[in-house]
């Protein structure tokens, strides 16, 4: 993994994660040696920036809050600018276990996929989310399978990795708020090979998840709309 010819960047979005970020980065350093990381401090109002400074972490400091989509895209732009071969997204709240990075990188390096998604539903272990959330995820998953011809079960998982080609694509176009399912659609539109690999996710260690019940309804409608807009292109490709 630490071969010098393959440079790996772990993008760690963090919005108000002062109590988690240190542990996440320490975990990452011990579990995934040979990778670089960049924290995206997305306009945090707590002391996330202070923690990053004090610990001499590698970070980007967004002067205003852009939301997870704009933050992640900043990470991809950074990855492109610094010529990375592989980018891995790892949440700054500690629910993603960095020990899976090694396997993700192997999948991408062996050219088995352009985009690899860490799925908590393949083996069904660890934190599984509430049943309402799972219902929504199942609906989106079916919709994406129907329209894009890719079978992804955990479409909202933010634990994923992409190769150089998709670093470039995501640096140019990345969906804004709640971007995960749309990023899959975008990858499908660009003809990506997308695979899932089983991961075990943890409960958030501290703080609150950013998605509430009402927002998930907005989320469903927005993603369905995104698919419908691209429907003509997708249908042409997969029929």
């Amino acid at each position: 993994m630490s071969k010098s010819n393959c440079r790996i960047l772990v993008i760690v979005p963090a919005c108000n994660e002062e109590r988690n970020i240190e542990r996440v980065i320490n975990d990452l350093r011990s579990q995934a040696p040979g990778t670089d990381y960049i924290i995206i401090n997305d306009g945090s109002t707590d002391n996330t920036l202070g923690v990053c400074r004090r610990s001499h972490f590698n970070y980007l400091d967004l002067p205003v809050n852009l939301g997870i989509g704009g933050g992640m895209q900043a990470g991809y732009r950074y990855a492109r600018e610094h010529d990375y071969d592989i980018a891995i997204q790892l949440d700054g709240d500690g629910q993603h276990d960095p020990s899976y990075i090694k396997e993700m990188v192997t999948v991408l390096k062996d050219k088995r996929a352009d985009v690899v998604i860490g799925s908590r539903f393949i083996e069904g272990q660890g934190f599984q989310s509430s049943w309402t959330r799972r219902l929504g995820i199942t609906f989106l998953s079916r919709l994406i399978r129907l329209c894009c011809g890719v079978n992804i079960r955990d479409v909202t998982s933010g634990y994923r990795g992409v190769n150089r080609r998709f670093i470039d694509i995501y640096a140019d176009e990345y969906a804004q708020d709640y971007p995960e399912p749309e990023a899959i659609i975008c990858a499908a539109l660009h003809g990506a090979v997308i695979t899932e690999m089983p991961v075990v996710m943890r409960h958030r260690a501290e703080g609150l998840s950013s998605i509430s019940a009402w927002r998930s309804i907005y989320y469903m409608i927005k993603v369905s709309l995104a698919i419908l807009i691209h429907w003509p292109v997708l249908r042409k490709r997969y029929n």
Partner: protein, 125 residues
């Protein structure tokens, strides 16, 4: 058909409307690019005020029995179109802001790294 007084007051109103647009343009608080749709709306209003017969014909054409209702319907529709145009302008502004914020953050990191490297070499000397 339409009272002369009503027609005159409508035209006076439209003159004030154009005066307001002109004033804002002079003050440069309104970009010419976005003024075009307001000027177009003003011209439509002026034409309707000068030739109210258009309204009666339009009402008959789309099946509205009273011309005044046709006027309200047309105005509502025009306002909706302008609001959609505004939403599209906001969307593109939002997109530009996002890109700028990302660029600033990336540049800020580069400056910080350079300063740190410079500071380290100075302290070595």
């Amino acid at each position: 058909m339409v009272p002369k007084l009503l027609q005159t007051s409508a035209l006076v109103g439209i003159v004030f409307y154009f005066a307001a647009i002109y004033y804002l343009l002079r003050k440069k608080t309104l970009a010419l690019k976005y003024t075009l749709m307001w000027i177009l709306a003003g011209l439509l209003m002026a034409v309707t005020a000068m030739f109210p017969g258009i309204l009666t014909r339009f009402a008959g054409l789309v099946g509205i029995s009273t011309p005044s209702n046709a006027l309200f319907a047309a105005i509502l529709f025009a306002i909706l179109l302008i609001l959609i145009a505004l939403t599209s302008i906001i969307s593109s502004l939002n997109d530009k802001t996002t890109k700028l914020v990302q660029s600033i953050a990336i540049l800020e990191k580069r400056v910080r790294d350079l300063e740190n490297a410079g500071g380290a070499s100075r302290s070595d000397n």
